[in-house]
Amino acid sequence: MTLLAIPVIALAAALWCAIPRSARAAPAVTLGAAVVAFALSTQVLWALRFGATLAPARGWVETDALGAFLLVLIAFVYMTAALYSWGYLNAEGTTARRVRLYHANFNLFAFSMFCIPLVSELGLVWIFVELTTLLSVLLVSYALTPEAVEAAWKYMILTLLGATTAVLGVLVLFWALHTTGSTDFTWAGLRAAAPHMPQALLGAAFVLLLVGYGAKIGLVPLHTWLPDAHSQAPSPVCAMLSGIETSAVLYVLLRLRNVFAGDPALHVGTWFALAGLISVGVAALLIVQARDYKRLFAFSTVEHMGIMLTAASILTPFGDTATLWQMLAHAVTKSFCFYAAGIAVIVTGSREIADVRGLLGISRVASAGLLVGGLAIGGAPPMAVFPSELAIVRAALQAHGYAVASLLVLFIVVAFFGVMWHVTSMLAGPPVTSARHRVPVTCALALAVAAIPVFVLGLWIPSGLSQALESAAKVLGT
């Protein structure tokens, strides 16, 4: 019941916020739902940390340590984004109706993401992945400016195009399963039947699913929606899109990797490494030439997705642990970065890097946030991304992937200096303007809460979380 309660809480909060005259309480209801969802998700992960499975409806709704791990990430970012939204919308000076509709949509978006790790039937997984797009499009266009509508349209068309490609992949995979005499279209059923599936069908399904879901996680060259959507969407929505929506779809690809990796002729590891390294390399160059600091962090998401896909290509148990570690570090750090960027937009009124100078003299919260965020997302010690990226490079070296490790290090270093060059240029110099608005209390509070795991996980991983990570990596089971 605990498992089902998590998405139901988000859905109930959405319905409550949809009721007319609920605008005043909508932020509190959303935050309350998010806190409860986080507590329940943590409880589920704790219960599954040694590798058990919870199955309220076997074959349809079931999850294991890997699913529970993703649940906790979604719930954490949902919670901090809900807190951040409260003050952020007030600072934007919007109407009560729009506040209510924002929260209703925000909770629905969280609901769709919670469902991805909870369902095990591949058709349902596809539906919830598509729902994440449909339920977030209107959040991206929230500002109602021509640029916001353009960003939302591009986001929707490109990701739905990916979803249509992926649905054909799902159907071909079902066909391949059918040839083995099995009808168990779940993660476990597919994995058991994979060695007996016809190679031609398995190969076609792999290509269709990699391209289809690749569009959603922003793999180059299907990444173009990502910077547009992130530059225009409200910052808490960016935190959800970038921090966990992309990771939730990557989780689906990681599970699918298990099905395809059994057939050596498909060269799954090679394709993952190629797609991952191209994304990391292109993103590193895009980071250097970014002009908008929200787009800068969006390019960094493309880079991180590429790093995780490259890590998943190593196909060793340590590589899988490092992939999930990076997913955790990315979720907490990227959401922190977008909270800091949102505060900078509130105080300066501009997203252009060239327009923001002397931020240190304008807002200490925004400056500290951007500086810590830039260092953390670039992979500087002692913050969460540093040990996870180090683990990925070590895993690549252990598997004798010297070229992969070298290219990764090169691209990560370029991206780090790119991010820090832009961030320091915004902080230094005399202030070009005075603060437009004060930093809303809940925004500063959300930034502080998000900062805790950014720092703590760089220095120490609690034993329960470490056990859960290992169990989750075992589910991937290479």
């Binding site: 596809w126 598509e130 021509p146 960003a151 929707m156 054909l168 016809p198």
Partner: protein, 221 residues
């Protein structure tokens, strides 16, 4: 499956690919939507024919849900949300001229057909024609999405691609779990609703639904 049903299905498949190509070259939004309705009815007809002998209630359910969602609910939703687009506007803007589009569509039909031949012989299926025409129509649908500039025809392109995927799907996965089929079917009207709503927002904020021409968001040099 009887020979008569197979022949009827082959006729339906031929009409399906013709309707998809017709959507790419039709110059009026209203007509484009009418052809989309015909395409959806043809998908349902193929599901009924393949599901008739031996009887498959999965395919009959899919056919019924396709008629309800794509031939009834989606056109109704679009007329409610963006009536000006469908009834008043006459000529469509198109990124490539009609003869070139037609030529590309024919090329894509052959490419999709050729690719599908690789799969058709890999394992048993209900109807190889569905798979070939499904892949061909998927690529033509992609072309429709690429050449149209207005919001509604872009949506129709997406939905045409989805119809194409399901045309192949009913032959390769006739017993796809029903709950997933139904959920996918209900997902489609939601998709149409969101897209139409965004088209309406675009019209209000920009005075146009020519979303294909939007290019203000890019890295400035």
């Amino acid at each position: 499956m009887t020979a008569l049903l197979l022949e009827l299905n082959a006729l339906v498949l031929g009409l399906f690919i013709i309707s998809t190509i017709a959507m790419t070259v039709t110059r009026q939004i209203g007509a484009c939507m009418q052809i989309f309705i015909v395409q959806s009815l043809l998908l349902a007809a193929s599901a009924f024919l393949l599901g008739a002998a031996p009887f498959s209630w999965h395919l009959f359910a899919l056919g019924c849900v396709t008629v309800a969602s794509k031939a009834v609910i989606i056109p109704w939703l679009l007329r409610r949300l963006v009536p000006g687009e469908i009834d008043r506007r006459r000529e469509l803007s198109q990124a490539i001229d009609v003869p070139t589009t037609l030529l590309i569509a024919l090329g894509l039909t052959f490419a999709g057909y050729a690719f599908a031949q690789h799969l058709v012989h890999a394992a048993d299926n209900l109807s190889p024609g569905n798979i070939s025409m499904g892949f061909a129509a998927l690529l033509v649908g992609l072309l429709l999405l690429a050449v149209r500039i207005e919001a509604v025809p872009q949506l129709l392109g997406l939905l045409a691609m989805e119809n194409a995927a399901f045309l192949a799907g009913i032959a390769i996965a006739p017993d796809f779990p029903l709950i997933a089929e139904l959920a996918i079917a209900f997902d489609v009207p939601l998709l149409a609703f969101i897209v139409a709503l965004l088209a309406r927002i675009a019209y209000r904020s920009m005075g146009t639904t020519q979303v294909g021409g939007l290019a203000s968001l890019k890295e400035r040099q």
